[in-house]
Each structure stands twice: as structure tokens, then as C-alpha cells.
């Protein structure tokens, strides 16, 4: 079974390819950067196509049977009619799967399941990274607000933090939002 993998994220595509390659029955081909998805399907005649749902060129696979060159092997979206929850899971992970029609369908679900797991893990890692980055930037906002309080209101550092936390609690807001408002108001006054 030949699997065409269309994912420009090299790290994620590598991980998916490695996992699938463990199955001796699968041959994994990766779409080259700037290669057209429709051309690759026509040229390589894959049995299964795994596509990153963030790709705008995924539309080229929809109705390829209706519009494409005569020699293209048609593909349709893989759907497990009996398992809508799994289909929703795949959508949320951001990966979809197509398979060639007009031949005995390969067992696509385990292939898609593996891709879904890796896409989800990748997304989780990205979310974690984003969260870590935003925590770092929140920290620097709070530090700047503290510096303003220390300098202009002659507070000690613990008192400055206590002041920020106290006004956040009394207004039902986050410390970083209060800090950011304080910075803005000081910048506003300066300008």
C-alpha cells in the first residue's frame, strides 16, 4: 500500500513517516515542497493520501474524479460511517485521509489513526510551547509594572507585587492584565 503524505511540517511528517514505515506493508512517499498535490496524486498513484488540513490545496482532491486529467486515479475522502466520533477526532487533530477508489480498499483506519495520534501530539506540543512563551511574556509585563511602582511610588518589590495582586483580586482580573493596564496608563501619561 502506497501512502502519499502531504505535510509541510518536516518534523511532524518525519514522525508520521517513521511510525508508518514500521509496517512492512506500507510504502510512504512524502510530497516535496512546492509540488502540486494533484500532480503528485496523478504521478504517484497512491492508495492512500494523508493531508494536513491546514493546506489550502486540499481542495484539489475534492472531486478530482470529476475535473482532473483522464489518467488520474480518483480518490475520495476516507470516512468511517460507523464512527463519527473518530472522524471528529481526526478533524480536530487537523489531518484527513483519502483513498483510491475502484480497487479493494486498503485498511485505512489504522493508518489515519496513527497520523491522528501524531498530529494531536504535535499540536499539544505547540500549545505547550505557546503557553510557555506567553507565561514568559506575562512575567516580563509584571516585572515592568513592578519596576514602575518601585520607581514612581517608592514601593519595595514585594509590596509592588502585593499591590498588583490585591488590585487584580478586588477587580476580579488577572495580575498580568492589571500590570498591562498600569504600563499603558503610565505610557499614556508620558506621551
Amino acid at each position: 500500500v502506497k501512502v502519499l503524505l502531504a505535510d509541510d511540517d518536516a518534523e511532524r511528517a518525519g514522525a508520521v513517516a517513521r511510525v508508518l514505515a514500521a509496517d512492512a506493508g506500507l510504502v510512504v512517499v512524502r510530497l516535496k515542497p512546492n509540488e502540486s498535490l494533484a500532480d503528485a496524486v496523478a504521478l504517484l498513484a497512491p492508495d492512500v493520501v494523508l493531508v494536513d488540513m491546514a493546506r489550502p490545496d486540499r481542495d484539489a482532491l475534492d472531486g478530482i474524479r470529476q475535473v482532473a486529467a483522464l489518467n488520474t486515479r480518483p480518490v475520495v475522502l476516507f470516512v468511517d460511517e460507523d464512527d463519527p466520533a473518530f472522524m471528529e477526532e481526526a478533524i480536530n487533530a487537523g489531518v484527513s485521509s483519502y483513498n483510491a477508489i475502484g480497487m479493494p480498499p486498503p485498511d485505512v483506519k489504522p493508518i489515519l489513526r496513527a497520523a491522528v495520534a501524531l498530529f494531536r501530539r504535535h499540536r499539544q506540543a505547540q500549545d505547550d510551547l505557546k503557553q510557555a512563551e506567553s507565561r514568559l511574556s506575562e512575567r516580563s509585563v509584571i516585572d515592568r509594572a513592578k519596576a514602575i511602582l518601585i520607581k514612581q511610588r517608592h514601593m519595595s518589590e514585594p509590596d509592588a507585587y502585593k499591590w498588583l495582586r490585591g488590585s487584580a483580586m478586588s477587580r476580579g482580573r488577572r495580575v498580568v492584565d492589571v500590570a498591562s493596564d498600569l504600563i499603558k496608563s503610565m505610557e499614556g501619561n508620558a506621551g
Partner: protein, 363 residues
Amino acid sequence: MSKPIRIGLLRLVDSAPIIVAEANGLFRDQGIDVQISIEPSWSNITDKLTYGVLDAAVMLPPLALAACIGLRGPKARLVVPMSLSQGGNAIVVSAQVAAGLSDGGSQPGLRLLDWLRPLQTRPRFAVVHAFSTHNLLLRYWLASGGADPDRDIETVVIPPEEVVGALAAGSIAGFCAGAPWGDVAERDGAGKILIGTSSIWPFHPEKCLCVGEVWADANPDLLHHLLRAVLQAQVRCDLPEEAPKIAALLADPAGLRLPEEACRAALPGGSGAELIRFHTREAWFPAQAHALWFLGQMRRWGWLDDQTNIEALAAQVYRPDLLASAVDAEGLYPAAGLPSLEGTAMLPMPNDDAFSPNGWRQR
């Protein structure tokens, strides 16, 4: 408040009614909470509607129908309670092709045919999706000039934002795409607009609002208020004096990031070759006659088998009854009179047998 209504759309000028409704608080005024999701492809919109990851979306009518038939995989249960826009697409050829066509004063369709006939390799034309109004109108136009769109051209699908680049690079000979891309191609000197799709079929339906049937059945009240807000936004979108503001909104870097000047050109009162209409001439009416035309053309090209009951499908997917209470509440049209719009929905009609849903068969 209940959980927000999730609405999907693409980066296109005809997504304006949803963007305008959100920016002007029209959803909030109706007491509904909306979450807009900008999607990269029509396939994403369709998959997410099919599995209830989106509740509603700006959609291509032929794709909504194709999804319900099961042409792209699963048989989806989707309904179209309103149309969103009319017109706005352009058939564009590269500057090189246009130069070869410029001799003689005949119709662009006829000149294109003269150019197509002696070609050794089929020229490539791009559309935005197989099941798009663009593809069906391009094929209808070529065929009415005597060309066979399956034999005389090669059709490829390219995302709208990439068509102008593909034309400039010479990888396609032409395209049919929505605004603003025809005007962008002319501005960049990459191509020339041969014809606007409103010249092929005046006041042709373009985008629709599509909702999941399960969601629509479970949330009649939310749907009513959603439709009212969008109807109000369509009125605004049709006012030429609002166009500069709307173009700026569509260009918002935190939103759709569209080219502002080209958006302005395609909006009512604009300087573009082909304009979009959102409200006038009952642009909001989801006529089953429109669905029948799309289905009839799909059958014409052999995409549907003869067993497909296109009348039943049109009635299943296109649901003006779902819009009745909203147009009534907005004072646009009395609910009881709504069905009478069906009779006028195709007018004015091209003078061509192949135009009517079943007419091409009788030739």
C-alpha cells in the same frame, strides 16, 4: 448565554455579510454569540459542517449539494436556509492568451473557441473547487460557445489566492475565480478579464449560508436570530456609501487580510469589472430553482447518475421555509408570499436551451 454559534468562512469578499454583522454588533443585538473561524479550504468547511465542528458556514452551493449526494465521501446532512450573494466571479486569461484573442470584434466566447480549436495540448484553466459555481459557470459558458470542457481544456483546482501567481508564472492559461482576484490579475498585468459571470447569467446566485441539519433542527430560535442578523448585514453590504468601511474591515490584518483596494472595486459602487450584490433583487432568497440549475449542470457533465432525484435533493437542501420567519420579522417580505419568489429566481434567463435544468437534454 448558550455556547457560541461557530461560523466558518474563507478569505473572500463575499464573506462580508458575516464579518460586517460581527463588527457592527448585529449578532449581539439579536442576542446571539458567534465565533468566526477562518478556514484554509472549502474541504475544511465541508468536513467541519458534516461532523458538527462548525454550525454554519459561507459555502459554495454546488459543494453543499455534492456533499449531500455523497460525491466527495460521506453523505452529509446540510441545509441552505439563505443565499448570501450574487455575481462577483470573472473568467480571466493570461496576457499572452489575451493578446492572441484581441483581433476581431466578435464575442469573447467565439474568439476563445477560435483559439482553442488548433491547440495541440489542452490549455489549463483553474477553478477554486470542482463543485463550485465558478467551475459550473465556466463549463456552461465554454459549452454554449461550442467547446467541450472535458476535451478542449484541462481543469485544475488552485486556491483563489494562488491563481494570479499561477497565471503570471504561465502554469495556467486562465482561471475563473471570485473577487478580488480578477481585478488583481489585471492590476498586476498578469491577465485580462474576458467576461464577468454576471454577463453569463445575470444575478446568478454565488455564495450561500449553509448549516448542519441537525443543528438547525435543534436550534430553531438561534437560527432565526442568526438569519436576521445576516439579512441586516446584507442590506449594509449593498450600500455603496458603506463600501469603503467594509473594504477596510475585510483588509484588517487581524481578520481576512484581503487587498483593500481590490475589495473596494468588487463591492457595490466599485470600479471592478464584475460586482458582488448582497441584498437587492432578493439576493437572500434560497431558490430551489437555483439548486436545480446546479444539479442539472452536474448531471449534464456526468457527475450524477440518472437515478439521482434532483428535484427531491433540491427540496431537501434548499429550505426557504427556514428563512420565512426572519424575512417577515425584518419586514423584507411577507412570509406567506415567499414561495412566489421561486418563479422569478432564474430571471433574467440566458437565451439558451442548455440553461434550464433539464433543457440541455432536449437538444
